[in-house]
């Protein structure tokens, strides 16, 4: 309970209960060959010296490809259909918990209201009149001017005033 990041043991290997940190592909599986960039570039340079040998170049590319490809289907830890749903539900619950704790609930997706039923009539309605736009512009200009020049805050008394408490 409480902290969602409290799974302290690394469950990458073996077959524990699946949670959001369980890897879908077992890294120890034989198919996932370690990346060998240095090795490969070296091979390419030697390759360039052997001009005309397209056949062996092709074979090498195929071989390299076969080594690099992670064959998902051949992995023994296949996830069943119902397991997908279980995990999706689990992740959603975790996500909700995290969002609730962080106080950012719902901000990851902004919901727009249902809106109006006849959009075309609203969009086709006559535009806002220039006089109204002018009015708003003038008003907001006055407001900002007033805020800039006019409003001054003077400290007079305590901001927090307690009622019913006898002043000593």
């Amino acid at each position: 309970m409480g902290c969602c990041f409290s799974s302290d043991e690394d469950k990458d290997t073996g077959f524990p209960d699946p949670d959001e940190r369980t890897r879908l592909l077992d890294p120890n599986h034989g198919n996932a060959a370690p990346p060998s960039h240095n090795n490969r570039s070296g091979q390419q340079y030697t390759q360039e010296s052997e001009k005309g040998d397209e056949q062996s170049a092709m074979a090498r590319i195929l071989h390299q490809n076969a080594r690099d490809v992670i064959d998902v289907a051949s992995n023994e830890t296949t996830i069943e259909q119902h397991e997908y749903h279980d995990r999706a539900r689990q992740y959603n619950t975790r996500l909700k918990m995290v969002l609730a704790n962080s106080g950012k609930q719902g901000t990851y997706k902004i919901a727009i209201p249902n809106g109006i039923t006849a959009p075309q009539s609203v969009l086709a309605a006559p535009p806002v009149s220039p006089a109204e736009i002018q009015l708003i512009c003038n008003a907001s200009e006055k407001f900002s001017k007033a805020m800039r020049d006019g409003v001054r805050i003077q400290h007079r008394e305590d901001l927090v005033v307690s009622f019913g408490v006898p002043v000593p």
Partner: protein, 97 residues
Amino acid sequence: MAGQGIERIPDSLGYLVLTEDGAVVSSGGELENDETVATKISKMVLTAVRLVNTSEKKDAFKRLSVVYDNFLYAATVSNHRILVSKRKYVPQDPVAA
């Protein structure tokens, strides 16, 4: 149904129908596949929607107008779609100075 009738608005120069996250569902006229305008208008609509925080139905978000000298963008929300129409703008009455 594609444009929900907004392609037939008089004085229309173009239209956009967007999903809640701003993806273009359908478009036409000058706004055909205009993703720049789509992104900007949908951001403005989302801001405007959040600005109005009331349960009163009559005060809810209805239309967002972005008015330029010769044209305007009118945007509204309906059925979880953001609808944008670009219209010719001919000021009716002279600006009272």
